[in-house]
Symmetry: C2
Subunit: 338 residues, 2 copies
């Protein structure tokens, strides 16, 4: 089968690899309908994360179940499924508390930018759609697999709710879908922090009421001006750098909530900033599995259209161009068709 | 009047100073009934915090109102009052949300290890007891002013509640009263982390069900062993160092809560630890004012006896010895009688 492999920073190739097979009775193999490139894939692409060996890429996926292991009961061959980037049993105490991404048996899922994918712990990880979805729903269902679920978690972690003012740091797909999540959760005011006209437009479409183009301390100042000097009730952080984390913390009022989902890179939070800020800080890898049933339902009923974050669609063989377009910020997010 | 002044690390003196006077119409001046030395006073005493000039010490206090400014309505001369180390108006949006220590008009209160104290924003800061309390209640009411209120906030910030397993990092007065708070809030199991026999005994008296003497990674390992490998639901941090913060974060299960109240010193939290831990982190200077009415009531009804943390009582003139005893950990907490 064809699969996307990263060999080194900037060096992504589509190569022939063995089709994955069932390794454990709890596995499923799915035939991918769509996959995509994640903002976090850009960290190794840009050399910020080290690659020990050539790496099969991709952890966002929708597909059709091809084969299941002997113990799999919840999904059947032929079903259309959505999964998360972390495989979870969905039965342990941590899963039951809503943190499937912290499952005691969690495993990473990788190699989804390909024709087929092996998904471990299939019963706990995959959620089947009630029927084969329409073609135009595919991008949104694919978004649910990671970026929507992650934006949703950021909003939950930041305790977004009715009457609240929300600020979103980061205008990638996750930040933009954090705006959508905040809108769905009833936020009164949603401030998107973005300097890019096309991303600002999508943020507004998803529910942003205000745009702040400034960053860092200037961005914090602007948020304070917009909130009577107090800061936002809830701030979603979707970047993962020291600047973005401090921007999020400082833009939040005392007693407010920061939900951070940007994968941390070289972040060291000064204790004094945290201590004096009085914010609640919560985040990490999103427990997407928790939200999948609700998100799939919202998408199939046409209530939300998160697939709009895909502003470029390419055949799998052009995965190298997909990485390039996202790296150069020519595209917000690229969908790959195997 | 006599007042305690810190001149340099290790150099504390009791000197004659002018009796404080009303400076603003919202001030009150109180005659102190009792004061005490705080764990945080040891930071400058040990040279970990810089002193720019000789510093009047003390921020925990109970006393009798001596004089009030023209605008003060909620307390009257002759009343016995308890206040917090941060003066707050108790009317701004941040105060109303329960974060009086983040009040937009907040001011520090200082110089309480003395005969008299000026308290700014008296209406928002001081809480009067319904009547003159019995002599034996004084230590507990004094504890409410900071260490009990701070331990209480740590437990609230860590979302302590029925059925939960709680761990407490730090066996100073705040940590010990965090144990008491956790017990009052219905925790099922309370693990006190302490290496000192007399503090272990007091922790047990306040409600600890288990004691862990190990620190750092060994302490974390022990907490995991006691919690089926998952970590505690709620961890209270009452030290303020890098080691204690990481100990608290790593001892908490995914989705659990860390309440941190130790004043941060040279803490820089690695983003990856926070990201992968999935904990909720909340803390800072405790909004003691929020809890004072409830705490005073519990104390006067004899429901709790937090004053037990005072294991040494000295006349104000012996303040230098009070610092020495706490620095050398001969005393948990020293009460000073003006």
């Amino acid at each position: 089968m064809r699969a996307t492999i990263m060999h080194a920073p900037g060096d992504v190739r589509v190569e022939d690899r063995d089709k994955p097979a069932i390794q454990r009775p709890t596995d499923a193999v799915i035939k991918l309908v769509a996959a995509c490139v994640c903002g976090s894939d850009l960290w190794p692409y840009r050399g910020a994360d080290k690659l020990a060996r050539p790496q099969p890429m991709g952890h966002e996926y929708v597909g059709i179940v091809e084969e299941i292991g002997a113990d799999v009961k919840n999904v059947q061959p032929g079903q259309f499924v959505v999964g998360s980037f972390i495989a979870s049993d969905n039965t342990c105490e941590i899963c039951r508390s809503g943190y499937q991404s912290g499952c005691v048996h969690r495993q990473g899922v990788g190699g989804a930018q390909a024709e087929y994918l092996r998904v471990p712990l299939a019963d706990g990880t995959l959620v089947a759609a009630p029927e084969m979805p329409d073609h135009e729903k595919i991008p949104s269902l694919l978004a649910a697999s990671d970026v929507l679920g992650t934006g949703w978690f950021a909003a939950k972690a930041a305790e977004v709710g009715p009457g609240k003012t929300v600020a979103v740091v980061g205008d990638g797909a996750v930040g933009l879908l954090g705006v959508l999540a905040a809108q769905r959760m009833g936020a009164e005011r949603i401030i998107a922090m973005s300097r890019h006209v096309n991303r600002q437009a999508l943020a507004r479409e998803f529910g942003a009421t205000d745009i702040v183009a400034e960053r860092g301390d200037a961005g914090v100042k602007k948020i304070k001006e917009l909130t009577g000097g107090l800061g936002a009730h809830s701030v979603l952080e979707a970047v993962g750098t020291q600047e973005s984390m401090l921007q999020a913390i400082h833009a939040t009022r005392a007693g407010g909530h920061v939900g951070f989902v940007g994968v941390s890179h070289d972040v060291a939070l000064p204790g004094r900033d945290l201590f004096s800020s009085h914010v609640h800080l919560h985040g990490g890898p999103a427990p997407v599995r928790q939200y999948l049933p609700e998100l799939i339902d919202l998408i199939l009923r046409g209530e939300i259209n998160p697939g709009k974050v895909f502003d470029l669609e390419l055949p799998l063989d052009q995965a190298p161009e997909a990485y390039k377009a996202m790296d150069e910020r020519r595209a917000i997010k690229v969908l790959l068709r195997p």
